[in-house]
């Protein structure tokens, strides 16, 4: 039995199936657990999120006025001396999109040179760097493979 199981696991073509089964099992267990003892939503969120459908930056609107201080929560305020001053950054092209149409929120965020994602009021800047690095690594792999075809 163990021999059969290990032979099955050793075949790399079966791995995706096994992983899918594990993910589904954990998800099912999670749903059962939620029914038995529901998790409660913590009202005091450190990074609250509210959606303003009228804003052209929807759903990425973080609130606050540019160049003015906004009240922002932080886990360790002593580490963020400019807390509340930095909310988001728009390049001229992004600002043009934002002023032109109220339906370009996602486009503004994703076009090159747009907001390099939500800066989250200066407190989680390392996340922004890490997310973009993942994207750049993926770009590097894709461009290497694409250019290799030309050789």
């Amino acid at each position: 039995m163990i021999g059969r199981l290990s032979r099955y696991l050793a075949d790399i073509d079966n791995l995706t199936t096994v992983y899918a089964v594990v993910v589904v099992a954990v998800a099912a267990f999670g749903i059962l657990l939620l029914v038995v003892s529901p998790l409660s939503y913590e009202e005091e969120q450190l990074y609250p999120k509210s959606i303003d459908p009228t804003s052209p930056l929807n759903p990425y609107e973080r609130g606050g006025d540019p160049f003015n201080r906004t009240e922002v929560l932080a886990q360790y305020p002593e580490n963020s001396p400019y807390l509340g001053y930095v909310t988001s950054y728009l390049t001229p092209l992004s600002a043009f999109f934002a002023a032109t149409s109220p339906y370009m929120g996602t486009t503004i965020l994703t076009h090159p040179g747009g907001i390099i994602d939500e800066i989250l009021y200066n407190t989680r800047g390392l996340d922004t760097v890490a997310e973009t690095s993942i994207l750049f690594v993926a770009f590097a792999i894709a461009s290497f493979l694409f250019r290799r075809e030309e050789e």
């Binding site: 696991l9 050793a10 075949d11 790399i12 073509d13 791995l15 995706t16 096994v18 992983y19 899918a20 594990v22 993910v23 954990v26 267990f29 999670g30 657990l33 939620l34 998790l39 409660s40 939503y41 913590e42 009202e43 005091e44 969120q45 450190l46 990074y47 932080a74 886990q75 360790y76 580490n79 963020s80 200066n122 407190t123 989680r124 800047g125 390392l126 996340d127 890490a130 997310e131 690095s133 993942i134 690594v137 993926a138 590097a140 792999i141 290497f144 493979l145 290799r148």
Partner: protein
């Protein structure tokens, strides 16, 4: 702000706003190991594999040269940096980000290899690594929703801490990025020539496993 988990008393913290990376004896050793291996990848020349044709004097030499060498070295250095960051991260979401970055870099290390078998394994590994991001980030999201924070220090100080389902999702996510039993695809990746770069795949998985155990026991 200080709380001693299984990893011992932190002796140095590196703050980036709300994300405070911490060096305890445990995480510092893991960080040092990742750093050492990254330096080996930078300085060392790759191995040369030789396939001897059985019964004759003929052999095939499989070297890693030129652009392929540079690209694979770059990817293994990126993998080393992501591993180092994951080792000392004091934030659940930041940790999950670096774990998924390690997954992408591992595909990059073998993407340049021209071997059908290795690329097949990389493809299978890639699918698992992509799917694994869902439980990984799902675990972090559930943690934030139920506790209101992501800082490992704050979570370890809380009485309730991280919910069980979030812990399970994170462990399933990290398993998908390269812990047994889903390690078989990675084991196949080792058939690719170019030793220090390929072994980076193994080192990063081992370190990620040790680190996720520490996080889940702490929070």
């Amino acid at each position: 702000m200080a709380s001693a988990g299984v990893a011992g008393e932190p002796f140095f913290a590196l703050p980036f706003g709300d994300i405070v990376n911490y060096f305890t004896p445990y995480t510092a050793v893991l960080f040092g190991f990742a750093l050492l291996f990254t330096l080996i990848c930078i300085l060392s020349r790759p191995e040369q594999q030789l396939d001897v044709v059985f019964g004759t004097d003929a052999y095939y030499a499989k070297g890693v040269t030129g652009k392929e060498l540079r690209f694979r070295r770059f990817m293994s250095i990126a993998c080393g940096c992501a591993t180092m960051a994951a080792m000392v991260s004091g934030d659940v979401f930041n940790f999950t980000l670096f774990v998924s970055m390690v997954g992408v870099c591992i595909i990059g290390i073998v993407a340049a290899v021209k071997s059908r078998h290795v690329l097949d394994a990389a493809y299978n590994y890639g699918i698992i690594a992509i799917v694994a991001t869902i439980p990984l980030f799902g675990g972090a999201a559930i943690t934030l929703a139920t506790t209101g924070t992501l800082s490992i220090w704050e979570l370890s100080a809380m009485a309730s801490g991280m919910p069980l389902i979030a812990k399970m999702l994170i462990i399933v996510g990290v398993m998908g990025e390269g812990i047994a039993p889903f390690y078989a695809a990675k084991a196949e990746l080792f058939r690719a020539p170019g030793a220090p770069y390929v072994i980076m795949i193994h080192v990063s998985s081992l370190l990620m496993f040790l680190r996720v155990v520490e996080i889940l026991l702490t929070v």
